[in-house]
């Protein structure tokens, strides 16, 4: 695989700070909560205190009479249409009608002149509940006789997936060694710093406008239309700056959005909602906790022959995108290792907990944790080096996996080697003092998924007379740097400066439709659309320039440094802005480029699990070094080094930021984070008690390394692939393997808390005192 930068770029490939960094650090950027509209009211949501109950009656009369209250609504103020992502998963209601299914389920909403009055009004709403038996454990919920959450879902089965590629029985029969383990993962929250917020307005003409912090505004637009029973033409969603997304609800229409617009209709005034952080941490959208059973068959030399994966996931009270959540672990078991025979069964079960969905990596980090932990177990049993077993089984470019993934560029082996080099693996492994250890974990991710529904991206490039460019897409910047990277692509093609490009926030009345920001698709998909759009604009300008400069258009007109010139005779040149004015003022032309990208792949068939999900796949490898305090069980991460194949780093500064951010989230899930629930009640709904790692929990910067593996993907914009999520996939297993290396104790259940480690060490000392 060649490791060289393609082309001689002016902008691409160079580190550039995020375009919106300045307005964000100065506080100038307007987040949804910063917006004030004239006459605006404040909304609050009443939530269920019961994990499972029938609503027999709601009396809002006392709340309505409170001075300052303008309106109170319940589920009856909506048409009663369930909305959601896929036809089979539509089970959300804006407000509960007859039943609540978890502590935090929205039951009623109030609009008042200020937040204090709105809160006071919530206390005056009388809801008569008939509590129902509740179930909080997925396996309990599957049993006959368990409390049933949804009429349509027998045995609380929310989503079920089963597929097999190859012949697993034969694979196991031919294996020299079988390894079987049960792993368990915990509920983890996105931890975005900006809570959900919106302002809804229903004007006199019946036009509905929602200003909201959304990572996928078009999904919100469609879901509002669906749940309100109103055509999309009457709905407009305007995106505000997003303070972190991670699919923590900002990819969908939420109860607050519905309530804001319907309360606005009742009051004739705009209504704002902002969640408190404890609401954010209590309500839905978190990483699926799972029981993961994995059986693997290998030859003596470590060659993987077959894997059988079974998952039971606690989906919580609603579906979210459960069908996809259950497809992904089995599909991604095909990456980054070659497994000729794969069998997969997954059950997403409804329980009376907050509901689960996507979170950076979706359901992939959980399986990577299990699979890459188990690889180390197998290597140890067979006396193989953990690196060798990975390299031996790593997929190579050009292969097709049993489930139909077509592997294009794929620098897996280089990722493993670079991560080893950066971490000093050879000098450390086996040579560290007791209670210090080093481990590796690997993973893989898609560059955008082509699943059901809308998956294409489009872009418009409007060139202005002063030589600046308005770039309009339907994609959102959620902090990952889409504004900067997409602008860099346009600037590179048009030969202008990065600062000459304006990147707009999404407004569904104006910007082109786009499914939004998820599954690491924006740089690849929208980036390709932007590139095509910019090339379209350049072509239009090149024609005019060729005429003016008396060159053949084929002569290759060059656009660079805000100049346009003839390649063979650079003296024949024009300033870029002059050219635009010539086109617009003299020739009356509108210079507007259009571009669209869709990967042209067939849709995945969820029933068979077969198909090529993404136009490109990224492997990654991570090495973690830990020190374990044997007396307290506390793990200190002494170093992290990762290598990741992002195709080509369009902006190395942002790639590094993404990769390190993803890595920190992985460390958080491995060691600290856990949404603790007792009978469905979240015990730690604050950032003091829901423990995300802080700077003090991270290694010194000198012990943090990141290496880009460059493979120049031919189908990505300027060779780029995903960089936002993949790097997180292997981190948890790397921590698990490092802790094992340090202590000789294997942990299969997350998080690796001090209590768990301390008592496991005591237990192992009891069994083998003279280790």
């Amino acid at each position: 695989m060649t490791v060289q930068a393609c082309g001689d770029y002016a902008i691409i490939g160079k580190p550039a700070p995020k375009k919106d960094a300045w307005i964000k650090v100065t506080g100038e950027a307007k987040y949804a909560d910063d917006l004030f509209l004239a006459g605006m009211l404040h909304g609050k949501l009443l939530r269920s205190p019961h994990p499972h109950a029938k609503i027999s009656h709601i009396d809002t009369s006392r709340a309505e009479k409170l001075a300052g209250v303008r309106a109170v609504i319940t589920g009856k103020d909506f048409p009663g249409i369930k909305y959601g992502n896929m036809p089979q998963t539509r089970d959300y209601l804006p407000l509960a009608l007859d039943k609540v299914r978890y502590i935090g389920d929205e039951v009623a909403a109030v609009a008042a002149i200020d937040e204090e009055v709105a809160e006071e009004a919530l206390d005056l709403i009388r809801v008569e509940y008939e509590p129902l038996p509740a179930v909080f454990d997925a396996e309990e919920a599957m049993k006959p006789g368990a409390p049933q959450l949804h009429d349509h879902a027998a045995n609380n089965m929310s989503a079920e997936t089963a597929f097999q590629f190859g012949d697993v029985a034969k694979g196991f029969a031919e294996s020299d060694y079988l390894q079987e383990d049960l792993f368990e993962t915990q509920p983890v929250k996105q931890g975005m710093l900006e809570p959900h917020a919106c302002i809804g307005q229903w004007d006199e003409t019946g036009k509905i406008t929602l200003w909201a912090s959304k990572q996928s505004p078009y999904v919100v637009w469609k879901q509002l239309s669906m749940g309100l029973g109103i055509e999309t033409s009457r709905i407009r969603v305007i995106q505000t700056y997003v303070g972190g997304g991670f699919s923590g609800g900002k990819q969908e229409a939420m109860p607050m959005d519905f309530c804001a617009v319907v309360l606005s209709k009742k009051c004739g005034r705009p209504v704002k909602f902002v969640h408190n952080m404890d609401e954010v941490l209590t309500i839905g959208h978190m990483r699926h906790p799972m029981k993961i059973w994995l059986r693997t068959g290998v030859k003596k030399d470590g060659t993987l022959l077959a894997q059988h994966l079974k998952i039971v996931a606690d989906g919580g009270a609603y579906s979210s995108i459960g069908q996809l959540s259950m497809y992904l672990p089995g599909a991604m078991l095909n990456l980054p290792y070659r497994v000729p025979n794969v069998k997969y069964e997954a059950y997403r079960i409804f329980t009376n907990n907050g509901f689960c969905g996507a979170l950076r990596g979706h359901t992939i980090p959980q399986v990577c944790f299990a699979r890459d932990s188990q690889l180390d177990l197998i290597a140890e049993k067979l006396g193989l080096d953990p690196i060798d077993i990975r390299l031996k089984n790593g997929l190579r470019p050009g292969e097709t996996t049993p489930n139909g993934f077509r592997i294009g560029t794929f620098g897996f082996a280089e990722c493993v080697e670079k991560a080893m080099e950066a971490s000093g693996w050879k000098e450390k492994r086996g040579k560290l003092p007791r209670y210090r250890g080093i481990g590796m974990g690997c993973g893989s991710l898609v560059s955008g998924a082509r699943v059901m529904g809308h998956s294409a991206s489009t872009a418009q490039v409007n060139v202005h007379e002063d030589g600046t460019v308005a770039l309009v897409t339907g994609s959102t910047d959620v902090g990952q740097g889409a504004d900067t990277v997409l602008s860099m692509i346009a600037a590179e093609v048009l030969g202008v400066g990065l600062e000459d490009i304006r990147f707009s926030l999404v407004d569904t009345d104006i910007t082109p439709a786009d499914p939004g920001t998820f599954s690491s698709r924006v740089t690849f998909w929208t980036g390709n659309a932007v590139k095509i759009a910019a090339e379209d604009a350049r072509r239009q300008l090149a024609e005019i320039a060729a005429e003016k400069l008396k060159a053949q258009i084929d002569d290759d007109i060059v656009f660079r440094d805000r100049q346009v010139y003839v390649k063979s005779d650079p003296q024949r040149r024009l300033r870029f802005d002059e050219l635009v004015r010539l086109a617009q003022h003299r020739q009356g032309k509108v210079i507007m480029g259009k571009g669209a990208y869709t990967s042209g792949e067939a849709l995945i068939d969820f029933r068979t699990g077969y198909g090529n999900m993404s136009p490109a796949y990224t492997p990654s490898a991570c090495v973690v070094e830990v020190e374990v305090d044997p007396q307290t069980g506390q793990v200190t991460v002494a170093g992290v080094w990762g290598a990741h194949d992002c195709g080509f780093p369009l902006n190395p500064m942002l790639v590094k930021g993404q990769v390190l951010g993803a890595t920190v989230m992985g460390i958080g899930q491995a060691l600290y984070e856990n949404l603790l629930r007792v009978d469905g009640k979240v015990m730690n709904p604050s950032f003091r008690d829901y423990k995300m790692p802080l700077t003090e929990d991270m290694p010194r910067l000198a012990n943090v390394g990141h290496v880009n593996v460059i493979t120049n993907d031919p189908s990505g914009p300027f060779g780029a692939k995903e960089a936002g999520e993949g790097a997180a996939a292997g981190v948890i297993a790397a921590v698990a393997n490092a802790v094992y290396n340090a202590t000789g104790v294997r942990f299969r259940s997350l998080p690796f808390s001090p209590d768990k480690i301390l008592f496991a060490l005591k237990e192992s000392d009891r069994k083998a005192p003279a280790r």
Binding site: E119, D278, Q631, Q634, Y672, M683, E696, D755
Partner: protein
């Protein structure tokens, strides 16, 4: 349910002197609360655990945030923030481990406002500062319109969020007696994260070295978050007096401390885990304090 709410309505009183504060507290007896840094109080009010009609802000009472030397020791005003303790040359000179303990509380933002008086008066089991102060033999001064009294800190804590101070009394000062020669203290705590976290359990130790005999002279050990109130573990102390500072002695002290503690199980930590930690942290605190005192004695630095 228990979501954080907006602050309830209240009157805000801003006395300038301790006398004014005492009068205000006496007048609004029963429905007023003193407000120091507010880092505990605001949360309790937002959770509606307490809803006082009046808040008496102590920030304007300048005399309460003074750290001074006095005959027989030092006095720390109740309104002294942890930030101020952390950087006080006087405290560093007399009891440097208090500076380190202060530096380990919350984050810089919290330390800029959270006060030692609030940490003691709130009497929450998770407070870090009572235990180290107890090992130093701290005395608390309480003032009210009825007069002034002093109380050993050890007798101050009555139960969860409950102190010996009457509702009309203000904690004004914490007095620390002079440090005996060849002595040193240490506070060691554990939490899941490496910083900015609720203490799972903490142990303070203060050791005075018997220079003549090369043994532990006096020793005091106090535990945080190991029972409803901060706790001296006197059996462990007794077992160490006159002993050499050996691993064996430390292990024994750790075991005794575990036995005297009454840690509770909660969703934050299992009882067994807390107990295990008390043993380990007792050893660590004693080792740190003991070594320091011993070295001081050997070097002759009182």
């Amino acid at each position: 349910m228990g979501y954080l709410r907006r602050l309830p309505r209240f009157d805000y009183l801003a006395p300038r002197t301790v006398d004014e504060a005492c009068s205000a507290l006496a007048e609004r007896r029963g429905d007023a609360r003193l407000f120091a840094g507010g880092t505990d109080l605001v949360l309790q009010m937002k959770r509606r655990e307490i809803t006082p009609r009046a808040i008496i802000g102590l920030k304007g009472v300048a005399s309460l945030s003074v750290i001074r030397s006095q005959a027989g020791g030092i006095a720390i005003g109740a309104m002294t923030t942890f930030g101020a303790i952390e950087s006080s040359p006087l405290i560093r000179e007399k009891h440097d481990f208090l500076c380190e303990t202060a530096a380990g509380i919350g984050s810089p933002e919290i330390r800029a406002v959270a006060t030692v008086g609030g940490n003691l008066s709130g009497a929450l089991p998770c407070a870090d500062f009572p235990a180290p102060l107890m090992t130093l033999g701290a005395i608390v001064r309480l003032r009210s319109v009825r007069g002034e009294r002093a109380l050993a800190l050890e007798d101050f804590f009555m139960g969860f969020a409950e102190t010996a101070a009457a509702p009309d009394e203000i904690l004004t000062e914490i007095e620390l007696p002079s440090r005996p020669g060849f002595s040193a203290g240490a506070y060691v705590k554990f939490h899941d994260r490496h910083a900015m976290d609720m203490t799972t359990t903490g142990v303070a130790a203060f050791v005075t070295w018997d220079r003549a005999r090369g043994l532990i002279g006096d020793v005091r050990i106090a535990l945080s978050v190991s029972g409803p109130v901060p706790l001296r573990v006197k059996n462990a102390e007794a077992a160490l007096r006159g002993r050499r500072l050996t691993e064996e002695a430390l292990v024994e002290a750790g075991l005794l401390a575990c036995r005297e503690a009454q840690p509770r199980a909660s969703w934050r930590a299992r009882e067994e885990f807390r107990r295990e930690l008390i043993g380990v942290l007792t050893q660590r605190a004693l080792r740190q304090a003991g070594e320091k005192a011993r070295v001081a004695a050997e070097r002759g630095n009182a």
